[in-house]
Subunit: 300 residues, 2 copies
């Protein structure tokens, strides 16, 4: 069955969106039908893949707050094997909107309930985003075309930089968590808090939740500091092997994703790195990462 | 009178703490008595300057929630001309603690009320943090020594990556705002929201609040993308000249701070860049930035 991955780290600017987009695009290019869910009110993933804000009729906000809206009304096809459920800025209002359902657990479960039909089979009416070379906001989408029924092999949820209700929804729906991080001083501290949250969601609501692994983003040529941080993370994960911790099978994925300015440029053209510069280091690294992630299955 | 600067950007990982520490340390080395306030529950600024968590008796949480605690009980001397008001993880609880005073405006004003006595004159009992070469957590502070009365010429408040109550407290107390940012796609979008918040605080509570300028952090050799983003920011600020917008005198500070791994390494030794590697590019850039900031006065 398909893998459902929450791409999370409460720390800002560590590479969640860049990894969700480019790991997702790489998996799609390997032939795996892949769905990307933008769960961040900043809507960077949606912008990154050229989803035209003016053409959105229903977005993640509607999916989460309007019982009448189905995932098939929200989904966009952005490349072969690659679809997106886009977000808009109004997604920031979801917490207030669902506040009265938090204590019953209904607010934490909304994403999962709405996505389950989609994960089994979905057809949607979505835009095929044109792959011209102009910046995203200048591209015209093709006329609205139906998306064929698709069984997704990978679903990746891009989380906001927080441990609030949206991220919790991702953890309740996901079967595994991937954590992008930068190998800098204090990265390990943030990881502790993150793992604590995963443990709580697993105990409270989602017993099958596991940590798949850590992606080292914006990696600089191996400095003393990076080496120490990576060693600490690997040691921490090793010590959990054969325990019942949710990260007992988690790995530090190879390869690390090297810092590469092309990765920061491609979103301004509404493209994944593969449509922007398929030969650069950023593309090579994410392509190899996709193979590692596809091969590393956690849980049952 | 002294300058009170909020170092803010709701986006995570853009260089707020690195700039608060190293701009602060550079100003101190230029002879300006400088106070750094750690307003982030992550407490990265405090860790960066080697404040020993086990030796803290009163921190920012106590200052903001306990009417009996004065700033002089919280302050630490960390270098010549450089003092710190440290934070601990419990600072995350401040929002809940002050929730009932939000509607009256008392919760937004707590920092200012507590700091005003300090800004005029303060003496405290603080640790002089030893400047040995071992990592911060292995350093032993000297015996507790009194800090002489100090009139601070610069106060810099390091904000968390959010527009919540702690950041609002910084904006209510500050006279100017400095915004660290990375010249990447979508940086301008975040700036819009930030400026909107500044406008609201200025209209609602702090009419003297102004934007001093933007610091370009983690600057890569000028790429097409960075050039475009910087051009956009400069144009946006130019268009506000001679208006009554809070950013009408704001500049993009020179120089940009180049990406330099030394800046990421120095916190793990509990030191500013000047005590870690005073000759590296990171130190050179922050030293020049301090001169630009000191020379650029905004408001009356
Ligand atoms: N390997 C890399 N090399 C160069 N730049 C990168 C790399 N990875 C990410 N970036 C850039 O760094 C910035 C932050 O990355 P990204 O937006 O993916 O982080 P994030 O964790 O999703 O942030 P947020 O917490 O705001 O959602 C972006 O401008 C992105 O383009
Ligand atoms: N010029 C630079 N060159 C290299 N690394 C840098 C530079 N500036 C900052 N860093 C590193 O980038 C990371 C993020 O920087 P920093 O913590 O200052 O950002 P921040 O805005 O305070 O983050 P937060 O939102 O979490 O408070 C840190 O690991 C820091 O050491
Ligand atoms: Mg993101
Ligand atoms: Mg910080």
């Amino acid at each position: 069955r398909g893998r459902v991955i929450a791409m999370m780290n409460q720390k800002g600017g560590v590479g969640k969106t860049t990894t969700a987009v480019n790991l997702g695009a790489a998996l799609a290019r390997l032939g795996h039908p892949t769905l990307l869910i933008d769960l961040d009110p900043q809507a960077h993933l949606s912008l990154h893949l050229g989803v035209d804000h003016d053409q959105i009729t229903h977005s993640m906000y509607d999916l989460l707050t309007d019982a009448e809206v189905a995932a098939s009304q929200v989904v966009w096809q952005v490349a072969e094997n690659l679809a997106v459920l886009p977000a808009e800025v109004n997604l920031a209002g979801v917490e207030a909107e669902l506040a009265d359902r938090v204590v019953t657990g209904a607010a934490q479960n909304v994403l999962k309930l709405k996505l389950m039909p989609l994960l089994n089979r979905v057809s949607g009416v979505g835009y095929r985003v044109s792959q011209g070379s102009e910046p995203a906001h200048e591209q015209k989408p093709d006329t609205r075309t139906p998306i064929p029924d698709t069984r997704y092999q990978f679903v990746i949820i891009d989380c906001p930089p927080s441990l609030g209700l949206l991220t919790i929804n991702a953890l309740v729906m996901a079967r595994e968590v991937i954590v992008p991080m930068q190998a800098h001083f204090l990265a390990l501290q943030g990881l502790g808090k993150l793992f604590e949250t995963i443990t709580m969601v697993r105990q409270g609501i989602n017993p099958q939740l596991r940590v798949g692994g850590v992606v080292l983003c914006m990696h600089e040529k191996q400095t003393l500091l990076a080496g120490e941080v990576i060693g600490d993370v690997k040691r921490f994960l090793e010590e959990a092997r054969h325990t019942d911790q949710p990260w007992s099978e988690a790995v530090v994925f190879d390869p690390p994703i090297r810092r590469n300015i092309k990765l920061a440029e491609s979103p301004s053209f509404g493209k994944s790195i593969f449509d922007y510069d398929a030969a650069c280091h950023g593309a090579q690294d994410y392509e190899k990462l996709a193979r590692s992630v596809a091969a590393h299955r956690v849980g049952k």
